[in-house]
């Protein structure tokens, strides 16, 4: 897949890291401000898509990247279920039990396991949106017109 012109390339180089950083901010502060795992994950995927679309890559690195992203996605989903099961093992016997100390409402480290759920769901959403995009590109490269 070909890249775009110099204007888009250079702007993407400067901006993409900052967009990724903003996605992390939305995820990590998800229990304090608007946002959370879903929104931040899609923003992170958007920054990765921006880099791929503007720079362009060859077929083999796309396939390699897709395999890595699939593993990341599955691992994140398993982590979500593992945390839920951990809640089952500690304290009262309830799935999705919030077993960590809650802290003060409004602090960054508070709300028990909710930030961990946010982080893993964010990784999972980012990885799956990125995989969908990658598979569309790979399919296009694979079958010439």
């Amino acid at each position: 897949m070909k890249g775009m012109t110099i204007i888009v390339k250079k702007t993407a180089q400067l901006i993409a890291g900052m967009i990724f950083m903003y996605g992390i901010y939305v995820i990590v502060h998800g229990h304090l401000t608007p946002g959370g795992g879903f929104a931040g994950g899609v923003i992170m995927a958007g920054s990765l898509i921006l880099v791929i679309l503007s720079h362009g890559t060859d077929f083999f690195s796309l396939v390699k990247e897709e395999m890595g992203t699939t593993i990341v996605e599955s691992a994140a989903t398993i982590c979500v279920i593992l945390i839920a099961t951990a809640g089952f093992l500690f304290g009262t016997k309830v799935f999705f039990n919030n077993f960590l100390p809650k802290g003060n409402v409004g602090d960054l480290v508070s709300a028990g396991v909710l930030p961990l759920y946010n982080i893993f769901v964010g990784i999972e959403v980012a990885a799956s949106v990125f995989i969908i995009f990658l598979s569309l590109i790979i399919f296009k490269e694979e079958s010439p017109k």
Binding site: T5, I6, I7, K10, T11, G17, M18, M21, H55
Partner: protein, 161 residues
């Protein structure tokens, strides 16, 4: 080197976003900046030592004022053309040769031209910028080149090259 620069820049961005200087927030910011640097350091700009030279920042501030002045003039010009009953427009695409060499400088020039009302940069091919202009004053390259990019080019050269 560029990994470290991206790390510092994204940490500054994190502090601006949160504006919270507690220990936990700083630790999370450092971890997030490391992740960002690992992912995007490969794509970041190469000549990062230029970020350490103070005179470039001085010229950048001067350039901001020049840019705002040019933008105001162009705004009034476009407003005159829109409000005039006869609509004196003569749109077309012109090809401008620039003396700037680095890609970053070309990007900044193209973005400045696009943000000025009335002109839009369509593409860059080698040293030539293709620009859509709302009123083509003349068809001679010697005449229209200074009108479009003359004000920006010398300052951008001092900022980036």
């Amino acid at each position: 080197m560029k990994y470290i620069t991206l790390f510092i820049l994204s940490f500054i961005f994190w502090l601006l976003l949160t504006f919270d200087f507690s220990v936990s927030n700083l630790i999370v910011g450092v971890v997030a900046s490391i992740i960002t640097a690992l992912f995007f350091g490969k794509f970041f700009i190469t000549n990062v030592y230029k970020l350490l030279q103070p005179r470039r920042y001085f010229w950048f501030i001067v350039y901001l004022f020049i840019f705002i002045w040019e933008c105001l003039k162009a705004n009034l010009d476009v407003a005159y053309r829109v409000l005039h009953p006869a609509m004196p427009i003569r749109p077309g695409i012109v090809k401008v040769k620039t003396t700037l060499k680095s890609d970053m400088a070309k990007m900044l020039l193209a973005n400045s031209i696009t943000m000025t009302p009335g002109t839009i940069s369509v593409d860059i091919i080698d040293d030539y910028l293709y620009i859509h202009w709302i009123y083509i004053r003349s068809e001679d390259p010697e005449v229209y080149t200074p009108i479009i990019i003359g004000a920006f080019e010398k300052y951008i050269k001092r900022i980036i090259e």
